[in-house]
Each structure stands twice: as structure tokens, then as C-alpha cells.
């Protein structure tokens, strides 16, 4: 089968079909064998990592992925000291760096920056997060983690908990889940409910989410809980934040009493997950972060059409 990813970009989940998501996940499963020992399929290839915003996990995991494939990376971890600070446009920086590398990952604070990069450049561009709009490789690794841990995605009941309004991670995951046959439960405080336009979109795609603010029942019903950080900045006053944050704290007691569903979180966590859950078998958020490596190895392999079985 020809590799339809070759030479393309990975900018948003919105334009990806279920089949395409499955292709990347299947490839990621193949990559697991090289995850710790490495391979040499990307030897001689260079990836540019342009991080106009710092991001520990995303950057390191992209770099690890490229190096495990036998390739190398060049770039910067934050705009300080780069030509951007001298007033160069993003477009000029991109056009210059693309002369040096074969593939590029971009993280930039402006929404739509990755799409612009893809339009300007001939080499494949991967979106490492553009403002609050998209972070599609996070969604890929979330889907991959669900599939890996539960065996499949279809037929599962998934609860998204926490900030469903501003968190791009949950919004993007919800959108991706419309490609699968799942029950979706949305559990969030009133102030952080999912925006109406996305609810309408989910509905139109045949996914009718159940909205609730009862943590107990949405834990008991779920095969998997995907929790996100509730940010202080979203609340007008600190007492309101504390009240909500406390009500949404997931701890060992809650999980044990409610059938021990799988617990995912994009990290970093603050108060929403109590550290007393860390030794439980069903808490997989560190594995989830680790899955970023085979998933990104898979994506790089597909976009560069690297040799491999």
C-alpha cells in the first residue's frame, strides 16, 4: 500500500480520517520494538525543532523520537537568543531553517502558525502546538494510549474531566473520538464547560456527549477518565478556584470505590490528581507521556517515508 503520508504535513486532527489515525497508531506499535534500542532508518536525516514557546515534554519527546530513529535534531528550545528576537518574521525564520533540515516541528504562540509553515515550506511540518488551537501529536498519543491500554477504542466509555472549555487537549481529543464508536461523558465545573460550537459539532458527527458535574458517577460509568488541569487564571477569585479544584480532585479512594477506571492526564498535573494514586496499576499518565516517543517515531517515519517493516 502506498504511503499517503509521504511529504505531507501534520497540522490538525480536524482533517484526519479514522483510517489515517489508525495508520499512525499501527506504525507506532511497530516502533515500540525500537523505542529503547533504537534503529537507523533515519540515519542522515535532520529534524528542525523550532520552539518559540518552551515545552519540556513535547520537545524532548520529539527529539528522543528522531534520535531513536537514528536521525538528529537541530533547533532552539525557546525564542531567547534566536533571530526572532531581532525582529525576524516567523516566515523568514522558517524559510531559512528549512534550507538546513528535512523535517520540522514547530511550536509557536500564534494560532495558525503551523498551517502557515506548511504552506510556505516544501518539507514536512509537524505542529508541536500553535497557541490554543491545536496540538495534534498530543491527541495521537492519547488515542494510542487508550488503544494500547484498553485493547481498542470502540465500545468504551470515556470521561473527560476538568477544563473542557480552554484546554486544547480535551477539545482536540473529543473531536478525534468522533471517528470512533464511544460513549463520551463530559464532567466539568460550570465555568469550564465545553463550548457550544464544539458540542454542536460532536452532536453532528453522531457523538452525543452526556454532560455532568458529578465526579462519582462519571468515574463509575467510565472505562477511562481523561483529566486535565484546572488553571487558577480561569477564575475571577481564588476562593472560587479552590472550591472547584477541590471538588475535582481525583484520588485513590474515588477510583477504588468506582471500579478503578484507567486514568490519563496530559501533564503537568497540579492538584487535580492526588499523588496517592501513583502506585495504582490503572494510573498510566507517565506511560502516556512515554507513548509520545513511538507515536512521534511513527509520524516522522511516515512523513519522511523512512524504510522499515
Amino acid at each position: 500500500m502506498p504511503n499517503t503520508f509521504e511529504g505531507t504535513d501534520f497540522i490538525t486532527i480536524r482533517d484526519k480520517t479514522r483510517e489515517e489515525l489508525e495508520i499512525v497508531m499501527d506504525k507506532a506499535r511497530q516502533m515500540e520494538q525500537y523505542r529503547n534500542v533504537g534503529t537507523d532508518s533515519a540515519r542522515g536525516h535532520l529534524m528542525g525543532t523550532l520552539f518559540f514557546e518552551p515545552s519540556t515534554r513535547t520537545r524532548i519527546s520529539f527529539q528522543a523520537a528522531m534520535k531513536r530513529l537514528g536521525g538528529d535534531t537541530v533547533g532552539f528550545p525557546s525564542p531567547e537568543g534566536s533571530s526572532v528576537q531581532k525582529g525576524e518574521t516567523l516566515a523568514d525564520t522558517l524559510r531559512t531553517v528549512s534550507q538546513y533540515v528535512d523535517i520540522l516541528v514547530l511550536r509557536h504562540p500564534s494560532e495558525g502558525s503551523a498551517k502557515l509553515a506548511a504552506e510556505l515550506l516544501d518539507i514536512p511540518v509537524m505542529n508541536g502546538g500553535d497557541g490554543s488551537a491545536n496540538h495534534p501529536t498530543q491527541t495521537l498519543l492519547d488515542l494510542y494510549t487508550i488503544r494500547k491500554e484498553l485493547g481498542k477504542i470502540d465500545g468504551k466509555t470515556i470521561t473527560l474531566a476538568g477544563d473542557l472549555r480552554y484546554s486544547r487537549t480535551t477539545r482536540s481529543l473529543a473531536r478525534a473520538l468522533t471517528r470512533f464508536d464511544v460513549e463520551l461523558i463530559l464532567n466539568s465545573p460550570e465555568q469550564l464547560k465545553m463550548k457550544e460550537d464544539l458540542l454542536v459539532e460532536l452532536e453532528e458527527k453522531g457523538l452525543s456527549p452526556k454532560e455532568t458535574n458529578d465526579l462519582e458517577s462519571s468515574t463509575a460509568e467510565a472505562d477511562l477518565i481523561y483529566a486535565t488541569r484546572i488553571q487558577k487564571e480561569r477564575f475571577p477569585d481564588i476562593s472560587e478556584y479552590k472550591k472547584v479544584a477541590h471538588a475535582y480532585e481525583i484520588d485513590k479512594d474515588l477510583l477504588e470505590k468506582n471500579g478503578e477506571p484507567l486514568l490519563l492526564h496530559p501533564l503537568p498535573r497540579v492538584n487535580e490528581i492526588n499523588t496517592d494514586v501513583d502506585d495504582m496499576d490503572n494510573t498510566v499518565f507517565f506511560n502516556q507521556a512515554g507513548n509520545g516517543v513511538p507515536v512521534r517515531m511513527a509520524l516522522i517515519s511516515l512523513l519522511l517515508d523512512l524504510p522499515g517493516r
Binding site: T89, L90, A91, S110, E111, G112, A133
Partner: protein
């Protein structure tokens, strides 16, 4: 007043454009987005909530010596999708067609998300939208996914004219 005399109230133009069937009450918006307040040459007639038969009302705008660009026509379609454009030459209607809302709107108005890449200084990119909903107008920015409704679009159009 006889019907004939009522007609006389609206001056005929020799050459120019008559924008007809504008949504009642929207003529001033069209006036604004076409930047006609800055136009010191053309003679302009505005009619607001005139009878258009069948118990309905419409607005109308006649602009002497002005012919619309496709971009201007698209702008009118955004706020008044049922408007028609009549091109007048030598007092005769030379051409008549409805305004058309293109599937993609490029470089017509700015995205109202300040963080959108299309709003960043000196980046070589034009704002681009797709029409998400035609009836109750909403457009989606093809760069940042921002949804804008008719009010927001009109606001941007007027700001830019």
C-alpha cells in the same frame, strides 16, 4: 401621492450601481463597509425600509459612477445575502445579478482573534475564512479555527473600510 410621484423621490442615475433588496435596515451597514462616507465624489441615494411588494420591505442604495469589485460584492453578500446588484449604463440596467457569497473568503476582513497568525505584523499571510453557516451567517478562520458570526464580521468589515 400617485405611485408615479412616489417613484420620483428616488433619483435615476445615468451610470453606476443600484444595490437592491438589501435586508431592511442594513443599507447603512453596506454604506459603511463600502467606505462611502469617505467618498466625496459620487452622488448617493439611500432608501431604507421601502415597500418591495408582497408585504415586505427592503433597503436600497444607488451610487452614481461606482462599479463594485468582486471583493465589495462578497462583502455585501456577507451582511445581506439576498441583495441584487444592478449595473446601470446610460440610464438602462445593463446587468443584473444576485450577490454571491464565495465558499472561501480571502483578504476581505481580518480575523478577530488577536492571537491568530493572520494578525501578526509583517507575516506574509492573508486572512482566509470558509463559510460555516450560510443562513445564520457564521464563518470559520482557516488558520485559527475562530468562528465569527454576522455581527462580528460586520464589525470587522466596517473597521476596515
Amino acid at each position: 401621492m400617485t405611485p408615479d410621484k412616489q417613484k420620483m423621490k428616488i433619483t435615476r442615475i445615468e451610470n453606476g450601481t443600484v444595490i437592491d433588496h438589501i435586508n431592511p435596515g442594513s443599507a447603512l451597514k453596506v454604506f459603511g463597509i463600502l467606505g462611502l462616507d469617505e467618498d466625496e465624489e459620487s452622488s448617493i441615494t439611500i432608501a431604507i425600509r421601502v415597500n418591495s411588494g408582497k408585504m415586505s420591505e427592503k433597503d436600497l442604495l444607488k451610487i452614481e459612477d461606482k462599479f463594485l469589485t468582486p471583493k465589495e460584492s462578497a462583502m455585501i453578500a456577507l451582511i445581506s445575502p439576498r441583495a441584487t446588484i444592478n449595473i446601470i449604463r446610460s440610464f438602462e440596467v445593463d446587468e443584473k445579478h444576485p450577490v454571491e457569497l464565495p465558499e472561501k473568503l480571502t483578504g476581505i476582513f481580518d480575523c478577530d482573534n488577536p492571537n491568530c497568525i493572520t494578525n501578526q505584523d509583517r507575516e506574509p499571510v492573508e486572512p482566509q475564512f470558509e463559510v460555516a453557516e450560510k443562513e445564520e451567517l457564521s464563518v470559520r478562520c482557516l488558520y485559527c479555527d475562530n468562528l465569527m458570526d454576522e455581527g462580528q464580521v460586520t464589525h470587522q468589515l466596517i473597521q476596515e473600510s
